[in-house]
């Protein structure tokens, strides 16, 4: 299955001027802190399997790109709304990046599906100071594939649409992503998602940059 997806992705990227393709894996663990707080830890790593830079030949070899560790504390403002903040540390090419995160979520369950909105702002720092500032809006739709509710041992479909603005030392960029995924609820507190993350950015330049990631996520709640 993964090979088939990659074959399609690589075929699509053959004509691109700039692209990166690979895999993203994450373990996402959540547990309650007291009555109203929730603590989220996320460990995510990304590997590049194929890439092409402008005016260069494509390279098809495995390269480890980065690892992120995110720690978020959230609280419910109301039954549908959540607010939170946290910290992420990233190790990439022997450099540490530190990110401060603020986020707001709205999740609503309708008769047949759920809709989630997320507005997130973050500031990234390196040892040399502020590296960039980003604002991200994500809308997600999730639908059970059997019945009206996602019960244990059932599959579901999820599609996220991501819009990301980045400002960095006088430069700005805009990125759009679409992330379809197939999920499986193993137990009420364990979900696994396999999907694709397709992104385009550098829209203002002559050739847009594209990213294709096969994503694997494991969500655990305690």
């Amino acid at each position: 299955m993964c090979r088939l997806i990659f074959f399609c992705l690589l075929s699509c990227t053959a004509l691109c001027q700039t692209y990166r393709a690979g895999t993203t894996n994450q373990i996402n663990l959540n547990f309650k802190v007291g009555k109203s707080l929730k603590f989220n830890t996320k460990l995510e790593s990304r590997q590049i399997l194929s890439q092409k830079e402008i005016d260069k030949s494509p390279s098809h070899r495995f390269q480890y790109e980065r690892t992120d560790l995110t720690l978020l504390l959230t609280t419910k403002l109301s039954v549908n709304n959540t607010i939170g903040g946290g910290y992420m540390i990233r190790l990439e090419e022997n450099t540490y990046y530190h990110r401060i995160i603020q986020q707001f979520n709205n999740v609503r369950k309708f008769e047949w599906f759920s809709v989630a909105h997320r507005v997130l702002a973050d500031e990234t720092f390196t040892n040399h100071g502020l590296s960039n500032f980003r604002i991200n809006y994500r809308i997600g739709i999730q639908k059970p594939l059997n019945g009206q509710y996602i019960d244990p041992k059932e599959f579901y479909a999820k599609v996220n649409n991501d819009f990301l603005g980045t400002w960095s030392r006088g430069e700005s960029d805009f990125e759009i992503g679409i992330l379809p995924a197939l999920g499986y609820t193993a137990t009420a507190n364990n979900k696994i998602e396999l999907g694709v993350d397709y992104r385009v950015n550098e829209l203002k330049k002559n050739g847009i940059a594209q990213q294709f990631w096969v994503t694997l996520g494991w969500f655990i709640s305690i």
């Binding site: 419910k76 989630a116 969500f219």
Partner: protein
């Protein structure tokens, strides 16, 4: 970019020099090794095919709603099983509930709260205001309970006839003393509350993070 082996070697070197990271990695490993302790009551709802529901249930639905597309669901809890048919007929959304043997339990029809008679509506709202600090009506269903014959006649007449007990099942987003949640509130025909049940929301962590 660097190769995997080189990256691992460099990672070890960097970690060795960055002692402040130890608590993070310890926390991460500890948390990710913690077993899942929460055991919830097993309840499940899933789609079933029309040919696997009891004949009596299938016949009742096909007799009254012959041109409608019917979605069948099985609902299981630790102790009971029930079958539900959901369909749209003459512009109305119906939910028809049967027990496991196909015996009809009730018929629910989706309505707007404004469709209720004024006195009943104001009594329902008064009772909701007395129960919750703040509340918003999300969904209103008319519930008819009665024998199979009575329910059949009521559906054909498009109104409750003799032998039908009318109730109102209302989903509200309400705030009690401690918490805001969704509740299913059942009212009798006069607008008096019969039962209030908090609706357990599904885990949506994968939509938030």
């Amino acid at each position: 970019m660097i190769s995997l082996n080189l990256w691992i070697a460099k990672f070890k070197t960097v970690i060795a020099n960055k002692h402040f990271l130890y608590p993070f990695f310890f926390l991460l490993v500890a948390l990710h090794c913690t077993p899942c302790l929460g055991q919830k009551k097993y309840e499940r709802e899933y789609t079933v095919k029309a040919d696997s529901v009891p004949d009596s249930a299938a016949l009742f639905v096909s007799r009254l709603f012959n041109n409608s597309k019917v979605h069948w669901y099985m609902e299981e809890s630790d102790t009971t099983k029930s079958i539900e048919a959901k369909l749209k007929h003459s512009g109305k959304h119906y939910s028809i509930e049967f027990d496991e043997s196909g015996q009809i339990q009730d018929i629910e029809i989706l309505i707007n709260i404004r469709d209720l008679e004024k006195n009943t509506r104001s009594k329902i709202k008064d009772n909701l205001n007395a129960t919750f600090k703040r509340q918003k009506i999300i969904k209103t269903q008319l519930q008819w309970v009665g024998s199979e014959n009575s329910l059949e006649r009521a559906v054909l007449a498009n109104m409750p006839l003799e032998g039908i007990i009318v109730k109102y099942e209302i989903v509200v987003r309400g705030q009690t003393e401690n918490v805001e949640a969704y509740f299913e509130v059942l009212f009798d025909s006069t607008g008096r509350i019969e039962s209030t049940m908090e609706i357990a929301l599904a885990n949506d962590d994968n939509l938030i993070y």
